[in-house]
Symmetry: C2
Subunit: 226 residues, 2 copies
Protein backbone atom coordinates (compact mmCIF):
# COMPACT_ATOMS: atom_id res chain seq x y z
CA UNK A 1 0.00 0.00 0.00
CA UNK A 2 1.45 3.34 -1.05
CA UNK A 3 1.45 6.18 1.46
CA UNK A 4 0.09 9.60 0.53
CA UNK A 5 -0.33 12.95 2.23
CA UNK A 6 -3.77 14.43 1.57
CA UNK A 7 -4.43 18.11 2.24
CA UNK A 8 -7.82 18.21 3.89
CA UNK A 9 -9.58 21.49 4.50
CA UNK A 10 -12.92 20.16 5.67
CA UNK A 11 -14.58 21.46 2.53
CA UNK A 12 -16.30 19.60 -0.27
CA UNK A 13 -13.40 19.40 -2.72
CA UNK A 14 -10.76 17.98 -0.39
CA UNK A 15 -13.23 15.43 1.05
CA UNK A 16 -13.77 14.20 -2.51
CA UNK A 17 -10.01 14.07 -3.06
CA UNK A 18 -9.55 11.93 0.04
CA UNK A 19 -12.24 9.54 -1.21
CA UNK A 20 -10.45 9.31 -4.57
CA UNK A 21 -7.06 8.66 -2.95
CA UNK A 22 -8.61 5.95 -0.78
CA UNK A 23 -10.33 4.40 -3.81
CA UNK A 24 -6.94 4.35 -5.57
CA UNK A 25 -5.61 2.31 -2.65
CA UNK A 26 -3.46 4.88 -0.84
CA UNK A 27 -2.84 4.84 2.89
CA UNK A 28 -3.82 8.45 3.60
CA UNK A 29 -2.18 10.77 6.11
CA UNK A 30 -4.38 13.85 6.17
CA UNK A 31 -3.09 17.32 6.93
CA UNK A 32 -5.22 20.32 7.84
CA UNK A 33 -3.73 23.76 8.18
CA UNK A 34 -5.09 26.17 10.76
CA UNK A 35 -3.85 29.39 9.18
CA UNK A 36 -6.01 31.74 11.19
CA UNK A 37 -8.95 31.47 8.82
CA UNK A 38 -12.28 32.80 9.93
CA UNK A 39 -14.00 29.54 9.17
CA UNK A 40 -12.56 27.34 11.95
CA UNK A 41 -15.61 25.09 11.67
CA UNK A 42 -13.80 23.71 8.60
CA UNK A 43 -11.14 22.19 10.83
CA UNK A 44 -13.70 20.29 12.92
CA UNK A 45 -15.25 19.13 9.65
CA UNK A 46 -11.84 17.92 8.43
CA UNK A 47 -11.51 15.67 11.45
CA UNK A 48 -14.97 14.15 10.86
CA UNK A 49 -14.26 13.63 7.16
CA UNK A 50 -10.88 11.96 7.83
CA UNK A 51 -12.51 9.51 10.24
CA UNK A 52 -15.48 8.81 7.97
CA UNK A 53 -13.29 8.07 4.95
CA UNK A 54 -10.79 5.82 6.72
CA UNK A 55 -7.71 8.02 6.86
CA UNK A 56 -4.71 6.45 8.58
CA UNK A 57 -4.10 9.66 10.50
CA UNK A 58 -5.24 13.26 10.68
CA UNK A 59 -3.11 16.15 11.89
CA UNK A 60 -3.72 19.85 12.12
CA UNK A 61 -0.80 22.23 11.97
CA UNK A 62 -1.19 25.79 13.18
CA UNK A 63 0.51 28.65 11.41
CA UNK A 64 -0.30 32.29 11.87
CA UNK A 65 -0.11 33.59 8.32
CA UNK A 66 -3.11 35.72 9.26
CA UNK A 67 -0.61 38.07 10.94
CA UNK A 68 0.49 39.12 7.44
CA UNK A 69 -3.07 40.22 6.64
CA UNK A 70 -4.18 40.83 3.07
CA UNK A 71 -7.15 38.45 2.88
CA UNK A 72 -10.80 38.53 3.88
CA UNK A 73 -10.37 34.98 5.17
CA UNK A 74 -7.79 35.94 7.80
CA UNK A 75 -8.31 39.67 8.33
CA UNK A 76 -11.52 40.65 10.10
CA UNK A 77 -11.18 44.21 8.73
CA UNK A 78 -11.88 42.93 5.19
CA UNK A 79 -15.48 41.87 4.60
CA UNK A 80 -16.31 38.57 2.93
CA UNK A 81 -18.20 39.45 -0.29
CA UNK A 82 -21.80 38.22 -0.29
CA UNK A 83 -23.23 39.91 -3.37
CA UNK A 84 -22.26 37.29 -5.91
CA UNK A 85 -19.10 36.21 -7.66
CA UNK A 86 -17.22 39.06 -9.35
CA UNK A 87 -14.38 39.38 -11.86
CA UNK A 88 -10.67 38.95 -11.11
CA UNK A 89 -8.91 37.68 -7.99
CA UNK A 90 -11.31 37.88 -5.03
CA UNK A 91 -10.41 39.40 -1.64
CA UNK A 92 -10.84 35.91 -0.15
CA UNK A 93 -7.58 34.96 -1.86
CA UNK A 94 -4.99 34.18 0.87
CA UNK A 95 -1.46 35.17 -0.18
CA UNK A 96 0.65 32.11 -1.04
CA UNK A 97 -1.76 29.79 0.78
CA UNK A 98 -1.43 26.79 -1.48
CA UNK A 99 2.34 27.22 -1.63
CA UNK A 100 2.53 27.17 2.16
CA UNK A 101 0.13 24.22 2.50
CA UNK A 102 1.88 22.19 -0.20
CA UNK A 103 5.24 22.96 1.45
CA UNK A 104 3.98 21.58 4.75
CA UNK A 105 2.62 18.51 2.97
CA UNK A 106 6.02 18.11 1.30
CA UNK A 107 7.79 18.17 4.67
CA UNK A 108 5.48 15.54 6.10
CA UNK A 109 5.67 13.41 2.95
CA UNK A 110 9.44 13.43 3.22
CA UNK A 111 9.38 12.26 6.84
CA UNK A 112 6.77 9.57 6.04
CA UNK A 113 8.66 8.45 2.95
CA UNK A 114 5.55 9.22 0.88
CA UNK A 115 5.92 9.99 -2.82
CA UNK A 116 2.40 11.30 -3.36
CA UNK A 117 0.54 14.42 -2.27
CA UNK A 118 -3.16 14.93 -3.03
CA UNK A 119 -4.71 18.39 -3.08
CA UNK A 120 -8.20 19.54 -4.04
CA UNK A 121 -7.35 22.57 -6.12
CA UNK A 122 -9.75 23.42 -8.87
CA UNK A 123 -9.09 25.71 -11.80
CA UNK A 124 -12.65 25.90 -13.09
CA UNK A 125 -14.79 27.52 -10.44
CA UNK A 126 -11.84 29.28 -8.76
CA UNK A 127 -10.08 30.56 -11.84
CA UNK A 128 -9.50 33.75 -9.87
CA UNK A 129 -6.95 32.08 -7.57
CA UNK A 130 -3.50 32.02 -9.24
CA UNK A 131 -2.33 29.05 -7.14
CA UNK A 132 -5.10 26.78 -8.43
CA UNK A 133 -3.82 26.69 -12.02
CA UNK A 134 -2.23 23.57 -13.58
CA UNK A 135 0.92 25.48 -14.56
CA UNK A 136 1.40 26.52 -10.95
CA UNK A 137 1.00 22.93 -9.70
CA UNK A 138 3.49 21.73 -12.33
CA UNK A 139 6.02 24.35 -11.20
CA UNK A 140 5.54 23.36 -7.56
CA UNK A 141 6.08 19.69 -8.39
CA UNK A 142 9.23 20.56 -10.32
CA UNK A 143 10.56 22.59 -7.38
CA UNK A 144 9.64 19.83 -4.89
CA UNK A 145 11.64 17.36 -6.94
CA UNK A 146 14.76 19.44 -6.34
CA UNK A 147 14.03 20.31 -2.71
CA UNK A 148 14.27 17.11 -0.75
CA UNK A 149 16.56 14.34 0.36
CA UNK A 150 14.19 11.93 -1.38
CA UNK A 151 14.64 13.89 -4.61
CA UNK A 152 18.42 13.73 -4.33
CA UNK A 153 18.11 9.98 -3.85
CA UNK A 154 16.03 9.69 -7.01
CA UNK A 155 12.55 9.14 -5.59
CA UNK A 156 10.03 11.27 -7.46
CA UNK A 157 7.25 13.15 -5.75
CA UNK A 158 3.91 13.56 -7.49
CA UNK A 159 1.28 16.21 -6.77
CA UNK A 160 -2.14 14.77 -7.56
CA UNK A 161 -4.90 17.22 -8.42
CA UNK A 162 -7.74 14.93 -9.51
CA UNK A 163 -10.32 17.75 -9.47
CA UNK A 164 -8.34 20.47 -11.20
CA UNK A 165 -10.46 20.45 -14.36
CA UNK A 166 -13.80 19.37 -12.85
CA UNK A 167 -16.91 21.48 -12.39
CA UNK A 168 -18.47 21.58 -8.93
CA UNK A 169 -21.31 19.35 -10.16
CA UNK A 170 -18.84 16.77 -11.49
CA UNK A 171 -16.98 16.80 -8.17
CA UNK A 172 -20.20 16.24 -6.23
CA UNK A 173 -21.33 13.42 -8.51
CA UNK A 174 -17.92 11.71 -8.26
CA UNK A 175 -17.79 12.02 -4.47
CA UNK A 176 -21.36 10.78 -4.10
CA UNK A 177 -20.48 7.67 -6.11
CA UNK A 178 -17.52 7.12 -3.76
CA UNK A 179 -19.73 7.45 -0.68
CA UNK A 180 -18.72 10.90 0.55
CA UNK A 181 -21.21 12.30 3.07
CA UNK A 182 -21.18 15.99 2.13
CA UNK A 183 -23.24 16.73 5.22
CA UNK A 184 -19.96 16.37 7.14
CA UNK A 185 -18.20 19.06 5.09
CA UNK A 186 -18.15 22.82 5.53
CA UNK A 187 -17.43 25.14 2.60
CA UNK A 188 -18.74 28.48 3.86
CA UNK A 189 -16.22 31.32 4.31
CA UNK A 190 -18.10 32.50 7.38
CA UNK A 191 -19.65 29.36 8.84
CA UNK A 192 -20.77 29.56 12.45
CA UNK A 193 -19.12 27.43 15.13
CA UNK A 194 -21.69 24.68 14.51
CA UNK A 195 -20.61 24.50 10.87
CA UNK A 196 -23.79 26.09 9.55
CA UNK A 197 -23.34 28.12 6.38
CA UNK A 198 -24.24 31.70 5.40
CA UNK A 199 -25.56 30.75 1.96
CA UNK A 200 -24.41 33.98 0.32
CA UNK A 201 -20.58 33.99 0.16
CA UNK A 202 -18.87 32.93 -3.08
CA UNK A 203 -18.08 29.49 -1.67
CA UNK A 204 -21.70 28.88 -0.61
CA UNK A 205 -22.98 30.04 -3.99
CA UNK A 206 -20.63 27.70 -5.89
CA UNK A 207 -21.60 24.81 -3.64
CA UNK A 208 -25.34 25.41 -3.95
CA UNK A 209 -25.08 25.71 -7.72
CA UNK A 210 -23.06 22.49 -7.80
CA UNK A 211 -25.67 20.44 -5.96
CA UNK A 212 -28.41 21.94 -8.11
CA UNK A 213 -26.57 21.21 -11.33
CA UNK A 214 -25.72 17.67 -10.17
CA UNK A 215 -29.39 17.14 -9.22
CA UNK A 216 -28.28 15.84 -5.83
CA UNK A 217 -29.95 16.93 -2.58
CA UNK A 218 -27.87 19.57 -0.80
CA UNK A 219 -27.27 18.48 2.83
CA UNK A 220 -25.86 21.87 3.86
CA UNK A 221 -27.30 23.46 7.00
CA UNK A 222 -27.73 27.24 6.78
CA UNK A 223 -28.06 29.86 9.46
CA UNK A 224 -29.41 32.53 7.12
CA UNK A 225 -32.57 32.51 5.09
CA UNK A 226 -30.59 32.27 1.84
CA UNK B 1 13.32 52.69 -1.82
CA UNK B 2 12.47 49.10 -2.78
CA UNK B 3 10.97 46.82 -0.16
CA UNK B 4 12.40 43.36 0.47
CA UNK B 5 11.65 40.46 2.75
CA UNK B 6 14.83 39.07 4.32
CA UNK B 7 14.83 35.64 5.95
CA UNK B 8 16.82 36.05 9.12
CA UNK B 9 17.79 33.04 11.22
CA UNK B 10 20.08 34.78 13.68
CA UNK B 11 23.07 32.98 12.23
CA UNK B 12 26.12 34.34 10.47
CA UNK B 13 24.97 33.90 6.87
CA UNK B 14 21.59 35.59 7.11
CA UNK B 15 23.05 38.51 9.10
CA UNK B 16 25.47 39.04 6.22
CA UNK B 17 22.60 38.85 3.73
CA UNK B 18 20.69 41.53 5.63
CA UNK B 19 23.78 43.78 5.57
CA UNK B 20 24.05 43.23 1.79
CA UNK B 21 20.35 44.01 1.21
CA UNK B 22 20.67 47.18 3.30
CA UNK B 23 23.83 48.19 1.39
CA UNK B 24 21.91 47.71 -1.88
CA UNK B 25 19.34 50.19 -0.57
CA UNK B 26 16.43 47.92 0.29
CA UNK B 27 13.93 48.64 3.04
CA UNK B 28 14.16 45.32 4.86
CA UNK B 29 11.31 43.46 6.52
CA UNK B 30 12.94 40.57 8.34
CA UNK B 31 11.25 37.26 8.96
CA UNK B 32 12.39 34.62 11.42
CA UNK B 33 10.75 31.23 11.58
CA UNK B 34 10.38 29.46 14.89
CA UNK B 35 10.00 25.93 13.59
CA UNK B 36 10.63 24.15 16.86
CA UNK B 37 14.39 24.09 16.39
CA UNK B 38 16.53 23.20 19.36
CA UNK B 39 18.59 26.35 19.00
CA UNK B 40 16.02 28.95 20.09
CA UNK B 41 18.88 31.28 21.02
CA UNK B 42 19.05 31.93 17.26
CA UNK B 43 15.71 33.72 17.39
CA UNK B 44 16.88 36.13 20.09
CA UNK B 45 19.99 36.70 17.99
CA UNK B 46 17.83 37.46 14.94
CA UNK B 47 16.09 40.24 16.81
CA UNK B 48 19.40 41.81 17.86
CA UNK B 49 20.79 41.53 14.33
CA UNK B 50 17.69 43.12 12.76
CA UNK B 51 17.92 46.07 15.13
CA UNK B 52 21.69 46.49 14.70
CA UNK B 53 21.48 46.49 10.90
CA UNK B 54 18.56 48.90 10.59
CA UNK B 55 15.75 46.60 9.51
CA UNK B 56 12.38 48.32 9.03
CA UNK B 57 10.65 45.51 10.92
CA UNK B 58 11.32 42.07 12.37
CA UNK B 59 8.71 39.37 12.82
CA UNK B 60 8.87 35.83 14.07
CA UNK B 61 6.34 33.32 12.85
CA UNK B 62 5.83 30.10 14.75
CA UNK B 63 5.17 26.84 12.97
CA UNK B 64 5.40 23.41 14.48
CA UNK B 65 7.05 21.43 11.71
CA UNK B 66 8.97 19.72 14.51
CA UNK B 67 5.84 17.59 15.02
CA UNK B 68 6.69 15.82 11.75
CA UNK B 69 10.08 14.80 13.21
CA UNK B 70 12.87 13.55 10.98
CA UNK B 71 15.61 16.03 11.92
CA UNK B 72 18.16 16.36 14.70
CA UNK B 73 17.31 20.06 14.84
CA UNK B 74 13.70 19.49 15.81
CA UNK B 75 13.63 15.98 17.29
CA UNK B 76 15.36 15.53 20.63
CA UNK B 77 15.56 11.77 20.01
CA UNK B 78 18.09 12.36 17.21
CA UNK B 79 21.53 13.49 18.43
CA UNK B 80 23.31 16.44 16.85
CA UNK B 81 26.56 15.04 15.37
CA UNK B 82 29.68 16.44 17.04
CA UNK B 83 32.42 14.25 15.61
CA UNK B 84 33.13 16.24 12.48
CA UNK B 85 31.44 16.79 9.13
CA UNK B 86 30.55 13.58 7.31
CA UNK B 87 29.48 12.62 3.79
CA UNK B 88 25.95 12.97 2.37
CA UNK B 89 22.90 14.73 3.74
CA UNK B 90 23.35 15.26 7.50
CA UNK B 91 20.71 14.41 10.12
CA UNK B 92 20.48 18.13 10.88
CA UNK B 93 18.66 18.53 7.55
CA UNK B 94 15.08 19.69 8.28
CA UNK B 95 12.59 18.30 5.73
CA UNK B 96 11.45 21.01 3.31
CA UNK B 97 12.65 23.76 5.64
CA UNK B 98 13.77 26.22 3.00
CA UNK B 99 10.63 25.57 0.96
CA UNK B 100 8.46 26.36 3.98
CA UNK B 101 10.47 29.44 4.95
CA UNK B 102 10.54 30.80 1.40
CA UNK B 103 6.78 30.19 1.12
CA UNK B 104 6.18 32.25 4.24
CA UNK B 105 8.45 34.99 2.88
CA UNK B 106 6.48 34.84 -0.37
CA UNK B 107 3.19 35.36 1.48
CA UNK B 108 4.54 38.35 3.38
CA UNK B 109 6.17 39.81 0.26
CA UNK B 110 2.85 39.62 -1.51
CA UNK B 111 1.04 41.48 1.28
CA UNK B 112 3.82 44.10 1.48
CA UNK B 113 3.94 44.49 -2.30
CA UNK B 114 7.61 43.52 -2.21
CA UNK B 115 9.22 42.01 -5.30
CA UNK B 116 12.41 40.82 -3.62
CA UNK B 117 13.23 38.08 -1.12
CA UNK B 118 16.72 37.64 0.31
CA UNK B 119 17.88 34.32 1.76
CA UNK B 120 21.28 33.22 3.07
CA UNK B 121 21.47 29.79 1.48
CA UNK B 122 24.91 28.55 0.66
CA UNK B 123 25.78 25.70 -1.66
CA UNK B 124 29.47 25.48 -0.81
CA UNK B 125 29.77 24.55 2.85
CA UNK B 126 26.30 22.97 3.01
CA UNK B 127 26.37 21.01 -0.20
CA UNK B 128 24.66 18.23 1.73
CA UNK B 129 21.36 20.17 1.96
CA UNK B 130 19.33 19.72 -1.25
CA UNK B 131 17.40 22.96 -0.73
CA UNK B 132 20.54 25.10 -0.79
CA UNK B 133 21.37 24.40 -4.45
CA UNK B 134 21.07 27.05 -7.18
CA UNK B 135 18.79 24.81 -9.30
CA UNK B 136 16.40 24.48 -6.37
CA UNK B 137 16.30 28.26 -5.83
CA UNK B 138 15.65 28.77 -9.55
CA UNK B 139 12.76 26.30 -9.45
CA UNK B 140 11.29 28.00 -6.38
CA UNK B 141 11.48 31.40 -8.09
CA UNK B 142 9.80 29.99 -11.17
CA UNK B 143 6.99 28.51 -9.05
CA UNK B 144 6.60 31.73 -7.06
CA UNK B 145 6.14 33.65 -10.30
CA UNK B 146 3.08 31.55 -11.05
CA UNK B 147 1.72 31.45 -7.49
CA UNK B 148 0.66 34.96 -6.64
CA UNK B 149 -1.72 37.76 -7.48
CA UNK B 150 1.35 39.91 -8.13
CA UNK B 151 2.58 37.34 -10.65
CA UNK B 152 -0.77 37.33 -12.44
CA UNK B 153 -0.55 41.12 -12.62
CA UNK B 154 2.90 40.90 -14.19
CA UNK B 155 5.13 41.90 -11.27
CA UNK B 156 8.15 39.60 -11.07
CA UNK B 157 9.47 38.27 -7.81
CA UNK B 158 13.19 37.70 -7.38
CA UNK B 159 14.88 35.40 -4.88
CA UNK B 160 18.29 36.85 -4.00
CA UNK B 161 20.95 34.42 -2.76
CA UNK B 162 24.05 36.62 -2.60
CA UNK B 163 26.06 34.01 -0.66
CA UNK B 164 25.15 30.90 -2.60
CA UNK B 165 28.62 30.42 -4.08
CA UNK B 166 30.71 31.95 -1.28
CA UNK B 167 32.96 30.17 1.16
CA UNK B 168 32.43 30.82 4.87
CA UNK B 169 35.61 32.92 4.92
CA UNK B 170 34.38 35.05 2.00
CA UNK B 171 31.05 35.57 3.76
CA UNK B 172 32.78 36.67 6.97
CA UNK B 173 35.10 39.06 5.12
CA UNK B 174 32.20 40.57 3.18
CA UNK B 175 30.05 41.03 6.29
CA UNK B 176 32.93 42.50 8.27
CA UNK B 177 33.46 45.10 5.52
CA UNK B 178 29.74 45.94 5.79
CA UNK B 179 29.95 46.37 9.56
CA UNK B 180 28.23 43.17 10.72
CA UNK B 181 28.92 42.42 14.38
CA UNK B 182 29.17 38.64 14.32
CA UNK B 183 29.24 38.64 18.11
CA UNK B 184 25.47 39.18 17.89
CA UNK B 185 24.90 36.05 15.80
CA UNK B 186 24.41 32.44 16.87
CA UNK B 187 25.23 29.55 14.52
CA UNK B 188 25.49 26.60 16.93
CA UNK B 189 22.93 23.78 16.51
CA UNK B 190 22.83 23.34 20.26
CA UNK B 191 23.55 26.78 21.68
CA UNK B 192 22.57 27.37 25.28
CA UNK B 193 19.88 29.89 26.19
CA UNK B 194 22.54 32.60 26.50
CA UNK B 195 23.55 32.00 22.89
CA UNK B 196 26.86 30.36 23.80
CA UNK B 197 28.05 27.71 21.35
CA UNK B 198 29.13 24.07 21.75
CA UNK B 199 32.10 24.38 19.42
CA UNK B 200 31.82 20.84 18.08
CA UNK B 201 28.66 20.58 15.92
CA UNK B 202 29.00 20.89 12.14
CA UNK B 203 27.79 24.48 12.21
CA UNK B 204 30.32 25.50 14.89
CA UNK B 205 33.13 23.77 13.00
CA UNK B 206 32.31 25.55 9.74
CA UNK B 207 32.08 28.89 11.53
CA UNK B 208 35.39 28.43 13.37
CA UNK B 209 37.16 27.39 10.18
CA UNK B 210 35.66 30.40 8.42
CA UNK B 211 37.01 32.92 10.91
CA UNK B 212 40.38 31.19 10.89
CA UNK B 213 40.58 31.16 7.11
CA UNK B 214 39.44 34.80 6.92
CA UNK B 215 42.08 35.73 9.53
CA UNK B 216 39.40 37.61 11.49
CA UNK B 217 39.05 37.28 15.26
CA UNK B 218 36.19 34.92 16.16
CA UNK B 219 33.84 36.67 18.62
CA UNK B 220 31.87 33.47 19.38
CA UNK B 221 31.33 32.61 23.04
CA UNK B 222 31.57 28.90 23.84
CA UNK B 223 30.31 26.88 26.75
CA UNK B 224 32.54 23.88 26.07
CA UNK B 225 36.31 23.70 26.05
CA UNK B 226 36.36 23.08 22.28
Amino acid sequence: METAVVLLSGGLDSATVLAIARAEGYLCHCLSVDYGQRHVAELAAAQRVAAALGAAEHRTIRIEIGQFGGSALTDSDIAVPTNGIGEGIPVTYVPARNTIMLSLALAWAEVLGAGDIFVGVNAVDYSGYPDCRPEYIGAFENMANLATKAAVEGRRLRIHTPLIQSSKAEIIRRGTTLGVDYGLTVSCYQADTDGRACGVCDSCRLRQAGFESAAITDPTRYYSAA
